[in-house]
Symmetry: C2
Subunit: 440 residues, 2 copies
Amino acid sequence: MRLSRYFLPILRETPKEAEIVSHRLMLRAGMLRQESSGIYAWLPLGKRVLDKVCAVVREEQDRAGAIECLMPTIQSAELWRESGRYDDYGKEMLRIKDRHERDMLFGPTNEEMITEIFRGYVRSYRDLPLNLYHIQWKFRDEVRPRFGVMRSREFLMKDAYSFDIDQDGARHSYNKMFVAYLRTFARLGLRAIPMVADTGPIGGNLSHEFIILADTGESEVFGHSDYLEKDIPGENAPFDDRAKLQSIVDHWTSLYAATSEKHDQAEFSKVPEKNRLSARGIEVGHIFYFGTKYSEPMKAVVAGPDGKELPVHMGSYGIGPSRLVAAIIEASHDENGIIWPEDVAPFRVGLANLKVGDAVVDAACETLYQGLGKAGIDVLYDDRDERPGAKFATMDLIGLPWQLVVGPKGLASGEVELKHRKTGEKHTLSPESALARLTG
Amino acid sequence: MRLSRYFLPILRETPKEAEIVSHRLMLRAGMLRQESSGIYAWLPLGKRVLDKVCAVVREEQDRAGAIECLMPTIQSAELWRESGRYDDYGKEMLRIKDRHERDMLFGPTNEEMITEIFRGYVRSYRDLPLNLYHIQWKFRDEVRPRFGVMRSREFLMKDAYSFDIDQDGARHSYNKMFVAYLRTFARLGLRAIPMVADTGPIGGNLSHEFIILADTGESEVFGHSDYLEKDIPGENAPFDDRAKLQSIVDHWTSLYAATSEKHDQAEFSKVPEKNRLSARGIEVGHIFYFGTKYSEPMKAVVAGPDGKELPVHMGSYGIGPSRLVAAIIEASHDENGIIWPEDVAPFRVGLANLKVGDAVVDAACETLYQGLGKAGIDVLYDDRDERPGAKFATMDLIGLPWQLVVGPKGLASGEVELKHRKTGEKHTLSPESALARLTG
């Protein structure tokens, strides 16, 4: 992408309304614009990151056997009356009347709707287990939305729903998502700790929040510091082996880790003092097992092996990709701007032409731009007629992993500069070597 | 994907409520489920097709220089009061009050919001032209939604918005989208005719609807039959050359073609009788040039070359990917089911194991399944313990371009069968040759 033809509205000033660093940087880097309180438009750079986050989430859901569908945003209130949650949900639910005065709502979550879909088709235990997920916009009408997309009213959520014939099966489905979440966050460059958590309006008695530590976190969390060092399950994690998967989950839940609602000071004090983590945390994922809470009232039953009908055991599993974009920035930035992990960077390489209009520099940049493009690497080519300082500042601010700097002086001795955003390391090398290194 | 682990709820009965063939086939093929009147959930097979349609739309938007962003679904009524459209829009607009009693709405289109974004950042003609698009769910509260996703209330729309310093520039932006649309529909296997159209609530004085002919079309259309034979502009269409692009558009608008609202019987009668097309049509795209209709009241101005501020000239360009899925089926099916064009097929190959449990057949299928997967080809592997007739019927119904049939008799003589869904042609060949042909 040529920056001269792109839409990247960088802000020079730090917006006053932004209280946390991710919100400030997203506004400054031209990723985001507020349209109403807690409602944001994703500008092109932000949209690219959001898409990359979703791609990672999707890959790991698919790997764990979940199947993607897509439910609508607007739901009928009838469904929520069936489960008994319509009145429970309070003012966070955005209630709507359509032109025929029917009660509708903007979905804050989808337990009811997915249960309705399930009961519409599935009749036998032989069709289980089943895990359906979608990535769709949700709305929760928070009283005081803040922190940008970290706590917005309209937000993107990946929510998965598992169906099993019994509690053992449901536990295995839960464990698959548990492991998928560990892998997802690790790929996003985040170290998330699964913590025993409250189940809130979703319900059930088994639940973990995945928490990353950050000073700007919304809540206090407590845990064992060894969680920060544990190995993440690999691509070939034993998703189909109940016992092996359970042992991975056991390993990841053997030490103390709890959100403030579930905190037990007596238990925490048994953690060796040097390992006691007490910090602010950001919730990046939340998983639930809630048994037959929805299947019973909504009559989502299947015939078991003996022909008798049983309500299915369910769980639900949420990750907010829009919030994750902010969480990644909270975890990865410096005083100059964002530092994107490779998997979610909006472009992998920023190519800076330090003398636009100089035939030699233009030609060298063009060759590099085409070469990187042919190798399938996303490049943002700064071909604007701007001074070098402004180009460097922009590149640092938007945080692309690699900066490739091409100027007349370097080229005179056959050299360009390759800078790694994260480490700050700079290498001077020939354009050909730079290309080889980036495409290798 | 193994069908035994997939969620493909095929219906045996033809649903009574479905009036048109696309709706019937989408319900029967397990692509879609109605959740409320005019509101649908996309089941996994449907979601895959929707994604592929979006991918084609996106590629052609990008090729024409449009830049993707993503605006929220919920908008503030204030914005619509600025343009004066809040009261105009009538009951089709889904109006909402949030918990603080602020007037909000579910966006039926985004002219106001994109104008607000533009005016927030762009100050100079040097930053033009600019074309921003997004693919987002919209809501229009139709009195009588029907025909499934062909006329639903919640629907997916790709809407692009162009900004130019003057009318000439805006016309060029319009032409880019015109050509992008011709290419998009052709790639989706559709022959769309651009027709002079009414501008309705969007406004402006230049507008084309892209119409495909179908007996189930919602409106009457009139045109010259030569439009059905014209060559579609290639990948390297001269998007940056104003004169050349205009000549392509001139070529595509030189003959008579009009929707019923714009129909002129006197002009139509000048078309040679043998070329007079009078038919039902389905609108699959609609493009508008409306000048300063939004930029003037909303004060979206830029400084021109002489420093004087001028309101920008705008256009908007809509395609409905959810409706397109239905339109493609209307245009491409037979009595046995759907016939997907290659670019949008949910899977390219259906692999049918005719004797699950037979070690030789299972092994041959496994080899083919792995081989196709390695070559990056989407395969749906029917590994269920079902009779062959049911498998054939399912494959025909869901319309994958290629069916690869593996049974014990054929394998005994080293052969499998490859069937092309569209032509019905069958070839008997070795598993290796089948693999080579599909991956070649």
